[in-house]
Symmetry: none
Subunit: 238 residues, 2 copies
């Protein structure tokens, strides 16, 4: 049935076969037969079978659940830009999300990129906030904020959610966005979970540095991860 051939390895043939069968005979939520059973059926080692399934996982066709099985995912997603524009996030309006939940608040020591971007000494105290912003009840982006503790005045950080920039304003700080860089990647596991998305859809990664309008010193370094299918960054140039 399966033939070893150059350029068409067994695991690929298996992936193709399974993909066909999935489209023909399976529906979303169905589980595939156990790996060992499939391996026996194709007369290959379980490792080879697994590699075949890996292809389908990467493709976003199926999903592995430890201890339970391999499950067929619902059909391909629509990546049309028209759909995305409904949820368009304006770059300038960033940080003004309608709902903002605080996931984490810790004090860490500045190091690497964070120290460099914030223009801090290594080891200087930094407040690390992790926020999740949703629009219309649907999670849109996760943002890691890094704030230099020493530049926040004597006030302890009591931010609990809502607009972070509004909170900072209350401390007499007015953050001004100076630079952003944008790139696209596939999400880390944690982010995929928070954003309730599959690991095979891209996310937009926006890195931003905000400076205090008064002192001109860096006041916030932020790394935002947007669900790309719900986001379109608009950049207007005057």
């Amino acid at each position: 049935m399966l033939i070893r051939k150059q350029g068409n390895p067994l695991y690929k043939q298996i992936a193709d076969l399974l993909e066909q069968e999935i489209h023909q005979f399976y529906k979303a939520e169905d589980s595939l037969p156990p790996e060992q059973e499939l391996a026996d059926r194709f007369s290959v080692n379980r490792h080879t079978l697994r590699k075949g399934i890996d292809q389908l996982v990467t493709k976003g066709l199926v999903e592995r659940v430890h201890g339970r099985g391999v499950f067929v995912l619902s059909g391909p997603l629509d990546y049309s830009i028209g759909k995305a524009s409904r949820f368009s996030a304006n770059l300038v309006a960033l940080g003004k999300g309608s709902d903002c939940r605080l996931l984490r608040k810790v004090e860490i020591k500045a190091q690497g990129n964070i120290a460099k971007s914030l223009e801090l000494e290594l080891g200087a105290p930094v407040i690390w906030l992790e926020t999740l912003r949703s629009v219309e009840e649907k999670p849109l982006c996760v943002i890691s904020h890094y704030l230099p503790k020493q530049r926040l005045g004597e006030n302890p950080i009591e931010y609990q959610g809502g607009s972070l920039h509004a909170y900072l304003k209350g401390l007499g700080i007015k953050p001004i966005r100076k630079m952003s860089t944008v790139t696209a990647v596939l999400p880390m596991d944690d982010d995929a979970t928070l954003l309730v998305m599959s690991s095979y859809q891209p996310i937009l990664r926006v890195k931003t540095l905000n400076r205090d309008e008064v002192t001109g010193l860096p006041i916030e370094y932020a790394l935002a991860r947007f669900r790309a299918d719900r986001t379109q960054l608009s950049i207007n140039i005057d």
Copy 2:
């Protein structure tokens, strides 16, 4: 050195270690030591080592070349979006050699988004150019350009490659970028092929509208698809 622990498999630890080392000691184009050598060094099986490298490949950090080795990829190019920025200028500024190949040149009738963006009547003639731009011999992005024929003067479009904006300038047109939107998607098959990338790595989609500086009329509507692993868009806000 490496410790077996739940939730932190060896291959992941290896990936993390290698990533660190790559950032510290390697530069683009460098090759990693052979797989067997690395496996010995970490005292793991070559399969386990390979799975670690797989992580880095997925991450876009390194690239495998059969029979030659594993090579470190160059970091993303920083592509800046600003008023006058053009592709060629961007890369020249980075000191990189670039190349622009014309893939297609057709005349079509304006419709839908194109007509709307270019502020044309439905059915008005539009020149559709498809270009592939490479940097250092490696494909970076595919761009679809839509030019309103009637605004190009009497000149037939004789553009054959190279800088498109330089060519337009020769026609007495100076395009100014007015708006861009950015989003991330998985590539269409054709684009993935042209960009020599996997269909599961995201691309950055940048939609741009350029207006003629003199008349203020839309002169170019462009839809660019960048390999996200080689691109970082910089947005500077004044």
